[in-house]
């Protein structure tokens, strides 16, 4: 017995999508992502890779010295 429930599920899915408050249909959601993506796209200052290199060197020096 099939009571033709397929439509019910379809409309529930659709409703869920449209209710996403920050989804593609949302002005706020779009601006938010645009704002954030612009920040992510910025050039990264060298200080961060320098810092990580420094930390890594310090770490291997500590291990090599094995002072503890």
């Amino acid at each position: 017995m099939n009571y033709g429930k397929t439509n019910t599920r379809r409309s529930a899915d659709k409703q869920g999508k449209e209710n996403d408050p920050l989804g593609a249909n949302s002005e706020i959601g779009r601006k938010l992502r645009q704002y954030y993506d612009d920040l992510i796209a910025e050039d990264i200052p060298d200080r961060f890779s320098d810092l990580l290199n420094q930390l890594e060197r310090k770490n291997s020096a500590d291990t090599a010295g094995n002072k503890d």
């Binding site: 408050p21 706020i28 601006k31 704002y35 992510i40 990580l52 930390l55």
Partner: protein
Amino acid sequence: MSVYPGFRDDLLAAVPSLRAFAVSLSKNADRADDLVQEALVKAWDKQNSYQPGTNLKAWLFTILRNEFYSQMRKRKREVEDSDGAITGRLSVHPAQEGSVDLKDFRRALELLPEDQREAIILIGASGFSYEEAAEICDCAVGTIKSRVSRARARLQEILEISGENDFGPDAISTQITNSVFTA
């Protein structure tokens, strides 16, 4: 040695996201870079508490966020109540045909209280789930939901966006299969 090979590279790869989050939190690019630097040092020092295979980005965001709030507590005098005090002075142009200039949007975002701003950024921009955001912010999922919803309502109010389905002329219409124009 690092907690796993490539840990350093993974940290470096996370820097753009960390900076974006730090700018959103601190509203200041210089301060944001200091925050990212502190977070990287902390992450390095406590790398053994990171479990390889789990969400590194969420782990780093948690560290950065904790650093932000601990610095904020230290500089409490500098921190204004962002909710209300500045609103009166700020002139935001009304949205034109539902489209909001990005500068106006940024200023509106900066008017939100920290907890609402971070919640809407984590969910709406950084791509975290409500569960992950709750873990990062050390609060309940329901709290994140209500902060996001208040943030959204507040932004709409500040920017005078009349409805969530106001499509501007530049709306990504290809993504919208079901748009209905109600004049």
